[in-house]
Symmetry: C2
Subunit: 86 residues, 2 copies
């Protein structure tokens, strides 16, 4: 399935959450990750994230079973593309 994950966590945990998400998904911009992932890997990723997160943190997960059902368009500078060359 295709997923988009956005997060808003305390400053101290941003690095940890970001590093964890990089293991499973592609970074797109700010606190947004996306990518294709299996149900099993997603469960593991979420369990690991929950162990990092505190009560005041939040994480949004958007799931699309059929990756072809979602279309992505980029306007302006594609920062995830830049990132590949940094």
């Amino acid at each position: 399935m295709f997923v988009i994950i956005t997060y808003d966590v305390g400053e101290k945990r941003v690095g940890k959450v970001c590093k964890k998400l990089r293991e499973y998904l592609d970074w797109t911009q700010n606190s947004v990750f996306e990518g294709e992932i299996t149900k099993g890997k997603l469960s593991r990723c979420l369990a690991e994230l929950k162990s990092i997160m505190e009560v005041e943190d939040s994480l949004y997960l958007y799931k699309v079973e059929n990756p072809r059902a979602i279309k992505k368009e980029v306007y302006g500078t594609d920062k995830s593309f830049d990132q590949l060359f940094l």
Copy 2:
């Protein structure tokens, strides 16, 4: 259709972009907006955003034609819900 819009724009333009998106979609978290929107309104929204954005800014648009094809899950604090009571 259901859309998710995330943006990464220069500090000076954050307020304008945010205000414009609020006219068309619901704010969820940080620089992420979501909601159901018609093709016509989306085109108008994008045209208005493009007139605000500069070359170094970026905006990601994820479109799902059938809103039932996308599932949303919230972990931790739902900040968009809090926002309703502020």
